[in-house]
Symmetry: C2
Subunit: 267 residues, 2 copies
Amino acid sequence: MLIIKIGGGKNINFDNIAADLASLVKAGSKIILIHGASEKRDEIAQRLGIPTKTIMSPSGISSVLTDSDAIDVFLMAYCGVVNKRLVEKLFAHNINAVGLSGVDGRLWQAKRKGAIMIKEKNKVKLLKGNLTGRVEKINDHLLKLLINSDYLPVISAPAISHENEIVNTDNDFATAVMAGALGVFEIVYLFEAPGLLKDFKDKKSVISQINRNELDDMMEFAEGRMKKKLIGVKKAFEVGVKKVYFGDGRVENPITNALKGKGTIIS
Amino acid sequence: MLIIKIGGGKNINFDNIAADLASLVKAGSKIILIHGASEKRDEIAQRLGIPTKTIMSPSGISSVLTDSDAIDVFLMAYCGVVNKRLVEKLFAHNINAVGLSGVDGRLWQAKRKGAIMIKEKNKVKLLKGNLTGRVEKINDHLLKLLINSDYLPVISAPAISHENEIVNTDNDFATAVMAGALGVFEIVYLFEAPGLLKDFKDKKSVISQINRNELDDMMEFAEGRMKKKLIGVKKAFEVGVKKVYFGDGRVENPITNALKGKGTIIS
């Protein structure tokens, strides 16, 4: 089985991804797809007059501030438009897709964070009421039920807290926890870059191979969202994943290319 | 098995419905829930500056004009906010809910309508490009898979056309077709009225019993959306349903009350 995580950036080419997926499914691969929708979320939030508020952790990792209104926008973008439009696209390629969120059937069960520390104008302060959490437990029964009947699950955040609240969660981290729960050995992460770049301004500086033990050292090359992705990858190796592929989600045959090592392979 | 359809009106009390459902599930009932989200759809459309356009059929039945933007709003409201918030509420009552749309796994397969006749300013004219369809086929395999594993499916429109386009569809009609496909004998429809009213301005004029053969005569008492509901009910009897309950979705114990005959029973 293969888990593929697609970023939610503007230039991710869902048509190319669907076509490539179809060839893999036809060849007999069992696949789970996880997708982001950050671009659509920001667009809807802006149109509704609810701008996305970003917060920064003391260690310099940015994330989205999530109150109940923000969760609603999240649901509109991730579970509404992007999830269902992706399922629609997969049907056109004869893929038997079922769209779900981490909420459904308690697929992604998260520990809600209490008050969190944030960094604002170089000061560290405490922030309460943030509806976010970290995925700890997976309903692998529901996933196996679908996969064993030849459905391809198409999943996105949010998750559900142990106290039954919808909470925002990091998709990349949840992907890793899911791989562990299902005993999946390989994950492909597709995003808007050709791979992990040594210099994020130089598209040709792709690091093609990384040893899993070097991941901490790689943090220095990672900008913004990529830091979070590397935390997800670290988690993946902790729960038994053997190989992680980073690939460009904007090109033709994005998955096949990533599997061939045209991006970054971490093992 | 029991199918319960909840309207998407403003005053529908989802908390009461969830509590009532919990008691039925605890007593061993297998249930499928279908929900509307018309109020939330209109609200989002308005906030996004995409007002809902209603059209009128030559026979006087109103429905929503659906272009691709309208489908996106539909996905935000039905599959996004309302579906997932309802699933969240059901968890609080220990109900193992899984939210799906008619799109997922081709759950509701619809025949897309071609150009349709509409009535505008007392003139009948042809309208093209309307993304609507009528549900003809159900993926009963997916539903049984979930139900037999004790998941409670929470389903809403839209549906998927035979040509793999997301299309708006009438929830009440789809509910009836689904009952037929699953061999379900009873459907409860909950909405913002105490039952079918003889005089829609007089809340005390509830018709408590209707013979299924009198449905056509009842059309004269039906206002607006209720006409569509009665068409759905007619379809339900055609596909093998034995009893349909209309009940008030705003009160305590709305399902139990409807089953006790406090609204309208059609048989």
